[in-house]
């Protein structure tokens, strides 16, 4: 598994964490930090797509 594949694992874990935090903050009625965490999650996913496009010629192995 190359650094590209491991970075994809990292991006997945990071987006899970941010969306998890968003759900948690919304559940306790904290809309501000819930929204911020959700926005961060969307940002991480957009970054992931851009990174995959940029490195499409690099092997996953």
């Amino acid at each position: 598994m190359s650094l590209k594949a491991f970075h994809l694992v990292f991006v997945t874990a990071m987006s899970s964490l941010t969306f998890g935090c968003a759900l948690w903050r919304f559940a306790v009625g904290d809309a501000l930090f819930g929204s911020l965490a959700a926005a961060a999650g969307v940002g991480v996913i957009i970054y992931g797509i851009l990174f995959l496009k940029k490195l499409k010629h690099v092997s996953f192995l």
Partner: protein, 263 residues
């Protein structure tokens, strides 16, 4: 004698040897951290009610550290991409940024540790507990001789269970306690309770990995970067392998942060 498969992939594994070696090492690391995470879960699940702390750690600082390590994972990847595209200036910039982010992470972690070591739980002779940060210790303070006094910034509670949740900032005040009134005094080091013991073990081991990563990345950013000009492909592979290690360290923190700071 030339060491084979340091650049070209080995036919049976499909990749160069250093990458296989790093993955084997990371597999052992997964077992190490997995065992410690399991210990944390078992200790927490097995703890009697009202004996497991909540809110003892600084969530904003933990969030900042999470952001720092996430950014450092990106800069590590960009450094590897710079090696592949043969852009030396960008490599130096990205690897330098990784180092800066890693050192900042350690600085914040050190501040958090210092905060814990300055936080005291003082059991009073009347059964109450004074809990807070040590502001001042009189020059003649001696717990054994019962002389002098200490000044804490915190709160006084009636039972241990009340300490399990962090008090509100508005409830914190200056407390003067005479040594004669102290039954026992202990700071929030790893010896204080089970929670702090596992907290210091997990984050301390993680911090050691960060220091290891800084040494490796620092070497290839500094003196080791001479290999860029002498054997570029080998250098690129080494940056990838160090990047795998760094990503593992970042991934461990992504699990540590919610488990220790949020849950």
């Amino acid at each position: 004698m030339e060491i084979p498969y340091t650049i070209q992939p080995r036919p049976d594994t499909g990749t160069y040897n250093a990458k296989i070696g790093m993955w084997l090492f990371l597999a052992s690391e997964v077992m190490l951290f997995g065992g410690l995470f399991s210990s944390y879960i078992l200790l927490r699940v097995g703890a009697p009610a009202d004996t497991w702390p909540h809110g003892w750690l600084n969530v904003p600082l933990g969030t900042i550290n999470t952001a720092l390590l996430s950014l450092s994972a990106i800069t590590t990847l960009l450094a590897w991409v710079a090696c592949k595209t043969k852009n030396y200036g960008r490599f130096k910039l990205c690897h330098g940024l990784t180092l800066l982010l890693a050192v900042t992470f350690l600085g914040i972690k050190a501040y958090e540790y210092r905060d814990k070591f300055l936080h005291y739980e003082v059991r009073l002779t009347d059964g109450r507990i004074a809990d807070g940060h040590l502001e001042e210790k009189s020059k003649d303070f001696d717990l054994a001789k019962k002389t002098g006094e200490v000044v804490l910034h915190g709160r006084i509670v009636g039972s241990q269970a009340e300490l399990m949740t962090h008090g509100k900032a508005a409830d914190m005040k200056e407390i003067k306690v005479a040594a004669a009134d102290i039954k026992r005094m202990q700071n929030y080091g790893p010896w204080h309770n089970t929670y702090l013991a596992i907290y210091f073990v997990l984050t301390g081991l993680h911090a050691l990995h960060i220091i290891g990563g800084i040494l490796i990345i620092g070497y290839y950013w500094g003196p080791g970067s001479a290999m860029w000009f002498t054997n570029h492909e080998l250098f690129t592979n080494r940056i990838e392998v160090s990047g795998l290690f760094w990503h593992f360290v970042d991934l461990v923190w992504i699990f540590l942060f919610p488990v220790l700071y949020l849950m």
